[in-house]
Amino acid sequence: MTARPHWSPPSRALRAACLALGVASVGCPANEGVDPPGDSFFYPVTLAASPTGNWLYVTSSDFDLRYNGGTVAPVDLACLRARVADPTHARCAALPNAPDVRCVADRDQPGGFVCEARGFVRADQVRRISPYAVDSAVARYPDRTRLYVAVRGDGSVTWFDLDDNGGLDCGAEGALGRCGDSHRVGTDSAQSPTAARLPPDPSSISVDPARGWVFLTHQSSDVGLARASLIRDGAAGGGGGAPVMLSALGSLSPGLSSAALLPRAPGSEERSTWVVTSRAEASLSFFQAYPGNATLRDGSPFVYRSAIIGVRGLSGGNNNRAVALDPDASRHRAFVVSRAPEALLTVTLDPANPTAAVVSDVLPVPQGPSRLVVRSVDGRTQVLVVSFDARRVTVIDPDERRVIGQVVTRRGPHQALLDPSPSQPFLYVVDFLDGALEVIDLRPPADPAAPGTYLRRVLTLAPQLPQE
């Protein structure tokens, strides 16, 4: 009889190491089997509205990789407004099989309510995408409307055909269907006539629907990587063409962070121009999409940097997070949120000469400014700056250099969007940390002495209701 070897328990250190290894191996799992929630948001980063103003598309990033992907979820905007107007509004009728709307009073915001997101999300149309979405944009073409989502996780722009009922077509079927390869542009060089792929680290996306250009910035600090790219969507010319990756451009400023499409300049009608910020260099870059020359055999449109200017005269100026244009085009100005210093910059533009752009004003804003939107109210421009760290939205009159108001948000306000309907002055803010969508009332009160819910968070769509 052979003596069995004596088994001795592993040392405590070995046990600990094994356990640690085990924990590490499951701590950040691939999560192939864990589907994301199909009726709420988790680390939402971006939102876009349908041109009709009926739907809001909230993209969740799956930032902590808890699930096997992010999602794009249609939110019934009409129902959202109805709930704001009528606290008794109980159900979003446009949503098939929608549960009743369940809400409680917002303890942190007098006059506000917190509602379960599931009552407003069209769950059967929620689609799954790769993790780490960063930005989104909607374009309306002659016979279709498309949503583009820049996704860092798979290096793609995932695109959707939208319908007016909240439908999202990305080559997937059913609730939480994963978008198909045919709806992800930039991942396969074979799909590109120039054999181009989307560079890593996309940071923002901007669309020129008139030309079908989809322009992306990339915030890589690796000098060897491209930092701007161009996609053309054949749908711009009518029909159902798919977006095609055209070109990626390197040797640019590092940390490109956001882009805004400029009005067409005289003499340059054929080209679309974007002004682009950097979070790593004190500069503003201008990019143009070159359409090719119809008189020649030039079939290769591409993007190029047409100008770059220094952001001078500031202490820093090298950490700019977002840019938006003044809706009053005659003012020829853009607004930039800067973190060095933490301020709102007014940039005066010269349509004929990008190199003449100058920072014409600087206004302090609360800590951690990250995004902004600009609107016009009775002919006056208002800038709404989202400050992630300070957890608030600051409403600024740049001409009066005055803070009109501030809205305290939940823990992680990020991207914001104005309601596309002029008659519905609401601001929608995705809350990254709380997985929420916040609705801020921008309706001016009839009596300034009784502001009511003006500049307040009137509604929050949260994954679940707060515990009593």
């Binding site: 600990a16 190491a17 701590g27 020649l296 055999r297 190029y304 009066e400 803070v403």
Partner: protein, 840 residues
């Protein structure tokens, strides 16, 4: 099996944390966040009893910042914070503990006095034994008055509410000031959106008056139409800033909608004739009277300034530039013009207009400073230039370096710096600077003229000079011109090292390296004449590079399309090219640039061989330089060389958009590290590029001064001036038949900072006729660089990322700056200038 030990558990925990957590965000815990303004008040603190006093009763010890003679009298700063809607109170005289006053100690952390949403401005009215601070809110048409005696109190305590009074001002205030006129105390506020100024009589604390809304007159550059007239909305006033002149009982109100400054008479509270300052303005500061001048008035830029004057300093609404209005003469000052003997009206800073202070960064706030040592009615005052060895009369001593004294203005700039401005500082030599009585000094100092830094501590201790010998680096571009016959013979500057045959002794008095700075004799030493720059304050510390046939800055682009126009001429279309804006030229005998095609040909298969033969490949390019026939803002008309063939060949080889460069043909491009490419090209008729005659005339004037400074015989000057190349470009001299590059023959390169001439290097070449001396060819992209050092620089110091307000307390000689972004409240000492404490 034993359970895991604590260590093991910790390991597991650490692994878990490392695997799945993100780096925690660390937030600053500053107590003063987004401050907007600051006011100083003197409080006597005895136990819990606080009594306000005028600020003249408070002082700060130079040694420990303590309260000085009376230990109970503490100077306090009061700081509104718009983000929190609070008023922070800071005890500036505390020597122990924390200066921040915690108004509600029972609450963890520091608690301040709530004052309502978005406070924007603060002022005070403190008399002996009582007083108040007034805070204007961004969303209220009322000003909050707080009893100064309650500034250290807990606002949650009963009784505090009685110390707060809301006073109606009839609109939303932008700026706030307190005016004392006789026995009257008036609270003044600008109401931009009401196009008015509100004045409230607060003489009787128990019964503040009703607001008197003074609607201001409109007009300005758009016509004196007045409010409601046809001139349109832009002609309506939009008052924003206040400056109070109590001596002459005037309130000055800036306006960022019209180009005038409103004037209100304190006695009648009526609007007087506005000041036609010619700019829309935002921030104002009015100085006290400057001294009567006794010396060197003839050397002032404007002799009229040799009177006792007071000035209104203003920032412009558009640019943040500083302009100055002479209240005594009633006219704009030209602070960016050098004084005599500069007869040409040259600018201190060439890129700034003459009627602006020579600042390159916008100013965000101004404060008039009238230092305690200054008595405007006394004789010439002890100013504080960097005096050293002067022998002064009995009873007088040289003043210390680094002190600020006199009447001037402090400015905080958008880039986070503080600087000082003085438009009437005409101590043109060291007389006033060295001795209080003006005696015993000589005129040998180099501290000659300070236009925008009164006796700053910066000293021009060396004449600007070339820092090192020209560094020559040759970068071969691969073109045929990159080949040289006898090594890298590079051109040299005039008077350069002995690499040329031309070593004219007359050059020796310039300097060793051939870059000639405008200069004049400023004295004599045992070694001979001492030279200094003619206009030292036009010099700038800067690195300069001259590059031969260099790419014009910004004209290395991708995206141009080569096409044939209606006449069959080859054209590069590049709507975003901005060729004129970027300095391209194609003018015979002046400058004719070249287009360099960088891209390789992209022809159809059938044309590949032809294109390879014509244009080569990336490693061996051929015929890629096309001479620019005519340059336009958005396109270049090109010549096709015979080697290329015809236009059709170019189009067949380059059917797609190309990468291109525009290079200077046979010229050097001069670029300064700060000045960049100072060209003089503008967009002319038909959007064609042309020389701007005004700018070019300035360059020629610089060249003339340079030639005269160098002793060039007058008859030769006109000839040489005709050879001046376009601004920003330098041309190489020629070689005479005798093989000599004459010093006076080379075209003069001149700009506001330097002038020079460039000579060709010479080569000996054997010919059937014997040895000939010829100019050595220059490699494309050959660079010559040098630096200017030790130029005068105005005094500047860092404050914080976003300074927004500044206060000065006469008698204290300290400055207080509010940084809205990071540092909170910062203190600076004036004598000697020193960065002090930070309260946050």
């Amino acid at each position: 099996m034993r359970p895991l030990s604590l260590r093991s558990a910790a390991l597991v925990g650490a692994t878990l944390a490392a695997a799945c957590s993100t780096t925690p965000a660390i937030s600053n815990t500053n107590n003063i966040i987004r401050a907007t303004d600051v006011e100083l008040v003197c409080l006597e603190v005895v136990g819990s009893t606080v009594t306000p006093h005028p600020t003249t009763r408070c002082s700060l010890s130079d040694t420990d910042n303590g309260p000085g003679a009376n230990a109970n009298f503490h100077l306090h700063a009061v700081v509104p914070q718009f983000d929190r809607g609070e008023l922070a109170v800071i005890d500036l005289a505390t020597t122990s503990g924390v200066a921040l006053v915690d108004n509600s100690p029972a609450i963890p952390g520091y608690s301040f006095v709530p004052v309502g949403e978005f406070p924007v401005a603060i002022t005070s009215d403190v008399s002996e034994g009582s007083g108040y601070v007034y805070v204007a809110g961004g969303r209220s048409d009322r000003v909050l008055r707080i009893d100064a005696a309650a500034l250290r109190a807990d606002p949650r305590r009963a009784g505090f509410a009685a110390r707060r009074v809301e006073i109606s001002i009839g609109g939303l205030a932008r700026d706030l000031a307190l005016v004392r006129s006789g026995d009257r105390h008036l609270l003044v506020a600008t109401l931009p959106e009401s196009r008015a100024v509100s004045i409230v009589d607060v003489t009787d604390p128990a019964a503040p008056g009703a607001p008197r809304i003074l609607t201001l007159r409109g007009g300005g550059a758009l016509g004196d139409a007045g409010a409601g007239a046809d001139a349109g909305a832009q002609a309506l006033p939009h008052p924003v800033g206040l400056a109070i002149d109590e001596e002459s009982a005037r309130i000055y109100v800036t306006d960022d909608a019209i180009d005038r400054v409103h004037v209100i008479d304190v006695a009648t509270l009526a609007e007087l004739d506005s000041l036609p300052v010619g700019e829309r303005t935002r921030v104002a500061a009015v100085t006290g009277l400057a001294r009567t001048r006794r010396y060197k008035c003839d050397q002032a830029a404007d002799p009229d300034h040799c009177t006792r004057s007071r000035y209104l300093y203003l920032t412009t609404a558009d640019e943040g530039a500083v302009i100055v209005w002479d209240l005594t003469r009633g006219a704009r000052v030209r602070p960016n013009v050098l004084p005599q003997p500069n007869a040409r009206g040259s600018r201190v800073e060439p890129s700034v207009a003459t009627d602006r202070v020579a600042l390159l960064v916008p100013a965000t706030a101004l404060v008039a400073i009238n230092t305690s040592a200054y008595d405007p009615m006394a004789r010439d005052i002890p100013v504080s230039s960097p005096a050293d060895t002067a022998t002064c009369s009995a009873g007088y001593t040289p003043t210390a370096a680094g002190n600020f004294s006199g009447v001037f203005v402090g400015a905080v700039l958008r880039n986070g710096q503080f600087t000082v401005i003085d438009v009437d500082d005409y101590n043109v030599d060291t007389w006033e600077a060295q001795c209080q009585d003006g005696a015993g000094s000589t005129a040998s100092g180099t501290y000659r003229f300070v236009r925008h830094a009164p006796h700053a501590q910066t000293q021009l201790n060396l004449a600007p000079a070339v820092a090192s010998a020209p560094q020559t680096t040759a970068v071969l571009s691969g073109s045929a011109r990159g080949q040289t016959l006898e090594g890298a013979a590079a051109p040299v500057f005039a008077c350069g090292p002995s690499r040329t045959r031309d070593m004219t002794p007359a050059c020796n008095d310039a300097n060793s390296f051939g870059v000639v700075l405008p200069r004049r004799q400023i004295g004599t030493s045992s070694a001979g004449p001492v030279y200094g720059p003619t206009d030292p304050f036009t010099s700038r510390n800067e690195a300069w590079t001259f590059a031969f046939e260099s790419v014009l800055p910004g004209l290395d682009q991708t995206g141009g399309a080569l096409v044939a126009d209606s006449t069959g001429t080859l054209v590069l279309e590049a709507p975003g090219g901005l060729f004129c804006t970027r300095g391209a030229l194609a003018v015979d005998a002046i400058a004719r640039d070249m287009l360099r095609i960088v891209s390789d040909p992209t022809p159809l298969v059938a044309d590949r061989e032809l294109c390879a033969q014509t244009f080569g490949s990336g490693s061996a390019p051929l015929n890629r330089d096309l001479v620019v026939n005519r340059a336009y803002e958005d396109r270049l008309q090109l010549r096709v060389a015979p080697e290329v063939g015809d236009v059709a060949t170019v189009l067949r080889c380059y059917p797609q958009a190309i990468q291109f460069q525009v290079r200077a043909g046979q010229q050097w491009i001069a670029q300064g590290s700060h000045s960049h490419f100072l060209h003089s090209v503008r967009v002319g008729a038909g959007r064609e590029c042309e020389i701007d005659p005004v700018k070019q005339a300035e360059v020629v004037a610089f060249a003339e001064r340079c030639l005269l400074d160098r002793g060039t015989p007058s008859p030769q000057v006109p000839t040489l001036l005709r050879r001046v190349c376009p601004a920003g470009r330098a041309c190489t001299g020629t070689v005479t038949p005798a093989g000599v590059a004459l010093r006076d023959d080379a075209p003069v390169f001149a700009n506001p900072y330097l002038c020079t001439q460039i000579y060709p290097a010479l080569l000996q070449r054997e010919t059937p006729r014997g040895i000939e001396v010829v100019a050595s060819p220059v490699d494309r992209d050959t660079q010559i660089s040098f630096s200017l050092i030790n130029a005068y620089e105005a005094f500047r110091t860092d404050t914080g990322p976003l300074p927004v307000a500044i206060r000065h307390l006469r008698g204290l000689d300290r400055l207080y700056v509010i940084d809205a972004a990071q540092n909170g409240l910062m203190e600076f000492r004036l004598n000697p200038f020193e960065r002090g404490r930070i309260f946050n």
